[in-house]
């Protein structure tokens, strides 16, 4: 351990503001990247499930089996 007390650790020899600002920002960005994917995935399945239910109920026309992307085809 490079510090003797918790206070030393927080103050960082007077550079605490800079060090903690850099670390907290980076951690926020990293966690944000992880959460963004998880939330988008959940949202996708929620919406897709709702669509499937409406299709089963016959309130919307079935799109059928589409390829989705124009880039499909033999390479």
């Amino acid at each position: 351990m490079s510090f003797h007390t918790l206070n030393d650790f927080l103050v960082m020899g007077g550079h605490g503001l800079y060090v903690w600002l850099a670390y907290l920002t980076t951690i926020t960005v990293v966690v944000g990247n992880v959460l963004a994917v998880q939330m988008a995935r959940r949202r996708y399945f929620r919406q897709a499930r709702a669509l499937e239910r409406r299709l089963a109920g016959g309130t919307v026309a079935d799109p059928g089996d589409q390829t989705g992307s124009p880039m499909k085809g033999k390479q």
């Binding site: 351990m1 490079s2 510090f3 650790f9 960082m12 020899g13 007077g14 550079h15 605490g16 800079y18 060090v19 600002l21 850099a22 670390y23 920002t25 980076t26 951690i27 960005v29 990293v30 944000g32 990247n33 992880v34 963004a36 994917v37 998880q38 988008a40 995935r41 996708y44 399945f45 897709a48 499930r49 499937e52 799109p63 059928g64 089996d65 589409q66 390829t67 989705g68 992307s69 124009p70 880039m71 499909k72 390479q75």
Partner: protein, 259 residues
Amino acid sequence: MSMSASLSVSQSLKAWWHKLGSPRWFYEISGPWQRLFGVLALVLLVTGTVWGLAFAPQDYQQGNSFRIMYVHVPTAIVSQSVYMLMGAAGLVLLVWRMKLADMVLSAAVPFGMSMTACALFTGAVWGKPTWGAWWVWDARTTSMLVLLFLYFGLYALRQAIPREETAGRACAVLALVGTVNIPIIKYSVNWWLTLHQPASFTLTGAPSMPPSMWVPLLINVLGIYCLFAANLIGRLKLTILERERNTQWVRALVREVSA
């Protein structure tokens, strides 16, 4: 190696290359990889960050502000690697027209962009106590800012062109052309007089710091690469689901998950 063995190796490589062209195949095999890289990233990043923040010794000149290195260097390195990967994906898309390459080109942008912004921000926060300024216009900082704008450009271009195929090719060209900036970032500190110091690590020389300082840095660099791998797979799977939302296999998957 015998002739037939090398032939079968090249054939299986070719088969693998063709399979890569199938988003469904990628979706189905990538789950375990995403989890593996995710767990590795968590373990490595927590270890490296705690080590760098609390256990690595302080620097004889900079004191504790040098600990910003443990977040600044990994984000800066990975932001450039992500861009190089997008350049490679651009090449594959333009020449081989592989769907997955286009998806990589779109799925890697948010991570790369946020890492570039993070590297610039932590650099500014490190610059204030060491240099005495938040920002200077030297060759390194300016070329890094150009990288951020290239990421903005890739994001905006994708939004601006409604036709998926055209947007993909436009992004591929921008990604490829932009790779010219990567060696400029890397060698800016050697080619010109800059305030930013040269690299502490080179392929040939010994690192210019003791192991007690560079080991946690290496752990964080490896960790951020694992995080990128996991994040890219996650975003690719999402892109695949969105682009193939009307195919039988995706609809079956949705029904399966909801059941």
